[in-house]
Symmetry: C2
Subunit: 275 residues, 2 copies
DNA sequence: TTAAAAATTCGATAATACCGAACGATAATG
DNA sequence: CATTATCGTTCGGTATTATCGAATTTTTAA
């Protein structure tokens, strides 16, 4: 399975420095440290030893030991039976799914997304903004084995995805500017929009059209159609997209996909409002 | 959508008292308290105010406030824009999916589960033991709209599910006894096995057959076939099941489902070992 | 407008998290 | 097999830091 470049390098993004400062100032030291451990473990799927963790955190082993013990009591981390390495625990899996279950959007969107998915055999995504990133809430895989895929629970920058552009298009000029300052316009491919001017123009088009196209801006060869969804209060807060290889996404078929994606998004919006 | 009775009442289970003691003894007080807040929020999908949380925890508001602020900095909790109520945050969603992604079993099992799901049009589950509970790792929904469903990330007792019985059957008599003492044999329906003797007999049958049947022991009218999966070391650690309404799960078709479920489980096992 | 309730800030206090050192256990090395 | 090195774990003194109650501010309700 192929992931986007960004994969586990949510670290890579420069904004982290700013975030980290905030976290370090955080009220309760020990809690912040404990959650930092979780962050560290989340970037090492093979697990880490106590020594490794305490080295990375630049804290004495005994300190980290206590924090880890507490996290383990709550099943936020588990230990590999043989190696004794620490891993993320099942409670996080449980909680993550609980969070997902609380979002009413998923129940509404799922069947409609499935219809879209079957209709075209392409990957269908549901996403929302979270702290200036696109967060993927749901994904239905393409039929094609060559599934160029993101993943549920992963983040991507907003300015280069169909989903993201749809949501950015809703922002006021001031909000947009803040977004750019905060997040930057990092290119993922040579097609990625990297200037404010270009982005503004693109977003104006999105607003006019009522949908957004990502044309290889995340990944070469990947084209994707995003359409906005309104929540129960009529505010655009989600989006769906259909993505596939360029060779399946052009001409008449693309027009059809655009039309059906918008239709599906509208259907979801309507259901969200009238429930 | 219908969930099992147990739904969000993971609280309901009496074992919690024992667990809580352990948690309260936990090394780092503030961390334990913070994670307790998460637990509390996870049982209130509508969110809670600071006052409510601090009341439930029997702690001063200012104490809880600091903990909440820290959790919020890490996006473990978020605040509803209007009400200001605290909710579980997106970071938990992110982490939960990360945990899932780290489990190699899912990648292997998914396509095979999908085949099973399409073949019979019934719900297919993947589960593992976690602290003496069945934890549902993956689920493919039935075609039928009347989908009697559990959910990914939810727990059920082991002694009454097809998945659970398959895994219990692997335990030594001593381990089984410990399970019973710790978890008890709580009935969910009048068909649920509630005595050690009966359970031992049932598990012997499961071992002999190589599969387990849950015949309305979780929910009246629900029948389900579970088969064991070995991990890369050859140890049975997972199971899959096919479940549906009794009216679709009997006679020749049931035999067929049993056969195919075992076949699928074996296929997954083989792939797990040879990779 | 006033009152009531909730959220947030503040500061003194001592409880508690922290750290370094010491101890076992286990693995690696000669 | 002996020795060293590494890792995880325990312990107790210390002062940092979480805690708590009261005061302040903000929001909501009347």
């Amino acid at each position: 399975m192929l992931y986007f470049k960004c994969k586990e390098e949510s670290k890579g993004c420069e904004i982290m420095s700013e975030k980290k400062t905030k976290k370090e100032q955080s009220k309760i030291q020990s809690v912040a440290r404990a959650l930092n451990i979780v962050d560290i473990l989340s970037s090492n799927s093979d697990g880490m030893s106590l020594a490794q963790i305490s080295e990375k955190m630049e804290l004495p082993k005994s300190t980290v030991y206590g924090l880890l013990a507490t996290l383990r009591d709550f099943n936020y981390v588990s230990q590999d039976n043989e190696s004794g390495y620490y891993l993320l625990g099942t409670r996080l899996f449980e909680l993550g799914n609980q969070v997902a279950r609380n979002w009413d959007i998923k129940d509404v969107a799922f069947p409609i997304m499935r219809k879209l998915n079957k209709q075209f055999g392409e990957t269908v995504h549901l996403g929302a903004e979270d702290n200036g990133d696109m967060l993927y809430l749901e994904k239905l895989e393409s039929d094609s084995l060559l599934d160029i895929s993101s993943g549920v629970g992963l983040r991507l920058p907003m300015h280069c995805s169909g989903l993201g552009k749809v949501l950015l298009a809703e922002k006021s000029p001031a909000e947009l500017k803040r977004y750019i300052i905060q997040k930057g316009l990092t290119p993922l491919t040579k097609r990625t929009i990297t200037t404010q001017k270009e982005l503004e123009k693109e977003l104006a088009r999105v607003r006019k059209q009522g949908y957004a196209i990502d044309d290889g801006e995340i990944m070469e060869g990947l084209r994707c159609v995003g359409a906005p969804i309104q929540d129960a209060n009529g505010k655009v807060r989600y989006a769906i997209s259909v993505s596939g290889h360029i060779k399946n996404m052009y001409g008449k078929r693309l027009d059809n996909i655009i039309h059906e994606t918008i239709k599906a998004a509208d259907e979801i919006s309507k259901t969200m409002i009238t429930r």
